[in-house]
Structure formats: structure tokens, C-alpha cells
Symmetry: C2
Subunit: 186 residues, 2 copies
């Protein structure tokens, strides 16, 4: 089948739905974000793209710290709310119960099963967005969501994001570093 050209657009096949936590003017704020991934293995880093105009960007610049909080499917209403309303017009500090870890300026949402606490390693100006690369200082998790020391995707039950819609995780397809052993061609 011939391909068609869709033109350049900010597309990724699968994205996580997260809440970026930052203290802005000394108060916790949470912003919904999906443009995030792992940036490095050693040391462990993540990155998240944030529009320069966002209230959250002010807080990250202020403290050079932030958190990425992983909401469960049953927190979709609170999560989407944090993407609908800016902290500049509404105080979102009470949407979640905030706690602090090793850093004293990266608020984390207690209700979220996993929280990633970060210091800013670097920020890259890409145009409309700043790509914040964060060094992971600590990962906090509900013990009920952990299997063999790692967050378990089926227990965390995270929200996937795609064009304006939230999905849950489906079924196991295969094991990585294993499925490909059946490859025959060539």
C-alpha cells in the first residue's frame, strides 16, 4: 500500500499521561503532560516537554526541580482537570495531597501510585516548548504497585495518551529480548 504524507505534526504512537509537579511561588502545582520519556540509563534521567508559557515552567525555573507523577486510570478526572485549568488562574494545590521527598521543592501527589523526583540536568529550547531533562533523585511507589522492586504496569494501571483521548493498557503481547528469537528471514 502506498503511504500518504500527513505533514510534520507533534505525533508519537504511545504516550504516558503524567502530572508534572512543581512549586510555583512556594505552592505546589500539578500540570497534566504526556510528552515525556526516559532520557538516560546511567545516570537515570527522564525528559518532559513543557510549553514555555506554562505556569509550571515558572516553578521549574525557580527551583530547578520537578516531579513526574503517574496517575492511575481511576484518577482520570483529577488528572484531566489539571490539564484544563492553569495554576495562574486557579490554585491546584489541593487537587492532590502533596508530599516532599529528598528535594524540598518538588511536590509529589500522594494519590498517584508512582512519583519520580528530579533535579533539572538541562533544559533545551526547542521553540514553543522547553525540553526539561531531569536527573532522577528518587522513585516513590505504593508497595501494592511494585513487583520485584519495580513499578508493575498492570498494578499501576497507568493512563495512555493519544490525540485528545485516554486509554488503558491492554494485554501482554510478548516478552522483549525473547520474541525476536523466532525471527527466521534472511
Amino acid at each position: 500500500m502506498e503511504k500518504i504524507l500527513l505533514g510534520p505534526m507533534p505525533y508519537m504512537s504511545v504516550m504516558p499521561t503524567l502530572l508534572v509537579g512543581a512549586n510555583v511561588k512556594g505552592k505546589p502545582n500539578y500540570m497534566t503532560a504526556a510528552w515525556a520519556t526516559v532520557a538516560c540509563m546511567a545516570p537515570p534521567m527522564v525528559c518532559v516537554a513543557i510549553n514555555k508559557m506554562r505556569y509550571t515552567a515558572q516553578g521549574i525555573e525557580e527551583n530547578k526541580t520537578f516531579s513526574l507523577n503517574v496517575p492511575s486510570v481511576d484518577q482520570v478526572v483529577e488528572t484531566d482537570h489539571c490539564g484544563l485549568v492553569s495554576g495562574s488562574v486557579k490554585d491546584k494545590s489541593q487537587v492532590f495531597t502533596s508530599f516532599f521527598g529528598k528535594l524540598k521543592t518538588a511536590p509529589m501527589a500522594k494519590e498517584c501510585p508512582v512519583n519520580i523526583e528530579c533535579t533539572v540536568f538541562k533544559s533545551v529550547d526547542c521553540g514553543s516548548h522547553l525540553l526539561y531533562i531531569g536527573k532522577i533523585v528518587e522513585i516513590h511507589a505504593d508497595p501494592s504497585c511494585v513487583t520485584e522492586g519495580k513499578p508493575d504496569i498492570k498494578k499501576v494501571n497507568p493512563i495512555l495518551y493519544t490525540h485528545a483521548a485516554y486509554f488503558d493498557v491492554g494485554n501482554l503481547v510478548d516478552m522483549a529480548f525473547s520474541a525476536g528469537k523466532d525471527y527466521q528471514k534472511g
Copy 2:
């Protein structure tokens, strides 16, 4: 419930499974990767973290171009194979049918329903990994996977990646920029 500390590790709740396409020494090569996301809206950019030691990194440095190819669940064997074997020891140019778009050095896998063609905007040295930020030059898609000019997650049927396992996309949970309107608290 009290949280437990898992320590820093390269964790993200949900990740895409992709094939990074690059010409290395003039020949197409595909590497499996999951550490990727959107980096900017305007201009549209993506980023992908690649271990410095990878054969693919040589090709990206050589041409300053690369592609991100989105395999479907039914391509899990070929996809995992490209993560098991390095292009430095085995020629992977025949695993997929390569085609070229606007750039002449970013090979794309025809069998994958969506292909993102990029030039390198910037690379950030994070430690073990280079974070390549790519400006999207074009998005190619199978017409059967497109709804209203955008790749449709249920038609593309992409592979999610988490700790050493592949999952498919589950069910629609809710609509973004909408679900949060029901938020009442505060």
C-alpha cells in the same frame, strides 16, 4: 498507604516501541527503542535516547538524520529481533523494506504503519545515552491507519513497552480536555 523508595532507575509508566532507522555506512539499519516522545509542538519535534555505543548512533552522527518507525502488534517478532542483534554484527537492512522520503539518508520501514522522518536538531549527552532531538520533516502513514488526517491509535495498533514486556493498547478510558470538567473538589 506509605510509599516505598525504589531508588533512581530509568523508569517511565508507558513507552512506545519504535524502530529507529538510520543509514550506517550507507546501508539501512533498524534499532528497537522505547525511550522516545514528542519534544516540541512548533516546530514539531521528537526525541529519542540512544546508547552511545550503538551502531545506530554512528549512522545518526554520519548523516544527521534518522527515522522513527511505528510497528504494529503483528510485527513484534521482527521488532524484537532488531533489539536483540546489533547492526555491527548482522546486516538488518533486509528485515524491513526500506524506502526514503524527503531526506535521502533516513531509511523508513515500509511495513510499519507510520514513519516519522527527522533531521537532528540537537543531541544532548546525558551520560550512557545521547538524547537526539529531531525536527520532523514528514510523517508517512498507511491510509488505512489514518482518521481525520492523523494516525489512529486503534488502527495503528502500536506496541507499548514496559520492563522487558510488550503490551497492546487497551480500551478508551475517557476524552482529554473533557473528563476533568466533572471535577468538583475545592
